[in-house]
């Protein structure tokens, strides 16, 4: 699971109103190189919850993502490369995603988050 996916997922248990962002518990990370595409990065920024992305980056050990994003940064290749790496190249292989409201753990196994709910959670 990469951080763009993390930025989309929220806890879907019935009755939960603040199920986003899920906090990340890391057991194992992996890094896989992908093509650098500045246009894609510029287009995706307005769709991200930046704070959640920043915090997620910190929890996978990346401390070079600024707390706030400024349009001017989009002109800097150095920033875009760091952003690219954090968003698209770091994979959470083993660990868990934790609901901020209920503390429910959604395990991540072999890179796949298990968001399936139990019967009493639907």
């Amino acid at each position: 699971m990469r951080l763009l996916t993390h930025n989309m997922l929220s806890c879907n248990i019935k009755g939960v109103t603040k199920g986003f962002p899920l906090s990340i518990e890391v057991q194992k990370l992996d890094t896989k190189e992908t093509d650098f595409n500045p246009d894609f990065l510029r287009n995706i920024i307005p769709k991200l919850e930046w704070k959640a992305f920043h915090d997620a980056a910190v929890s996978v050990g990346l401390n070079d993502i600024p707390e706030q994003v400024d349009p001017v940064m989009l002109e800097y290749t150095e920033f875009l490369q760091k952003f690219h790496h954090a968003l698209l190249e770091v994979h959470l292989e083993e660990g868990a995603l934790i609901c901020p409201e209920t503390g429910r753990r959604f395990p991540v196994t072999k890179g796949v988050p298990n968001m399936l709910l139990l019967e009493d959670e639907v």
């Binding site: 699971m1 990469r2 930025n7 997922l9 199920g19 919850e49 698209l88 968001m115």
Partner: protein, 189 residues
């Protein structure tokens, strides 16, 4: 990439070893998968450079097709972990990246308008009535924030009729292979 080339590459995608009838698991063959995704890209520009989700991805055929046509980010969702393991193997085989999420399409709650395009070969609702509409409704809900109203698509059109070349997959299938005429739909919001 040409259509023929895409179809041939998708020929390497392995399908369900033991399909589950309650989930209406049927393979999306290379013929139909390549035509669906190729048309989405060539006629509408819905794939290349986009965030694409494959709902009920099964072994990952459509998502992989999207990745081959240069989608920037592909997320496949399925309720069946074994199908996702197969999808993982297929991704490695074809050397593409795709995110996989284990979830029930009905319970999906994704934040915001991250996904540009949802592609899917949903269940037809032959086992559980209405399963097809649940998939459609989830897809429309997740391509744009606030589209929570029931099936409030701006446009819905049948693009073409395709031949769903379905090999015998279950014991109750008496013929070796049947061609089913299916429609390819496109919805926009």
């Amino acid at each position: 990439m040409k259509l023929k080339q895409l179809e041939s590459m998708l020929g390497d995608v392995s399908q369900f070893a033991k399909p589950k009838i309650d989930l209406e698991q049927y393979p999306t063959g290379p013929h139909i998968a390549s035509r669906m995704v190729y048309m989405a890209e060539n006629s509408f520009g819905d794939i290349s450079g986009k965030v694409v989700a494959d709902f009920g991805c099964g072994c990952g055929t459509l998502g992989i097709a999207a990745a081959l046509l240069e989608a920037s980010y592909v997320v496949g969702v399925d309720i069946d972990y074994q199908a996702l393991e197969m999808a993982q193997t297929n991704m490695e085989e074809l050397e593409v990246e795709m995110e996989l999420v284990l979830d029930n399409i009905q319970d999906l709650s994704w934040r915001g308008p991250v996904v540009d395009t949802v592609i899917m070969n949903p269940p037809f609702g032959t086992r559980r009535k209405g399963a097809d509409m649940e998939f459609l409704s989830a897809a429309l809900k997740h391509v744009q924030r606030g589209a929570l109203r029931d099936l409030k698509a701006k446009t819905a059109e049948v693009l073409c009729e395709l031949r769903y070349d379905l090999p015998a997959s279950y014991k109750f299938h008496k013929k070796r292979e049947v061609d089913i005429a299916v429609d390819l739909w496109r919805f926009t919001i």
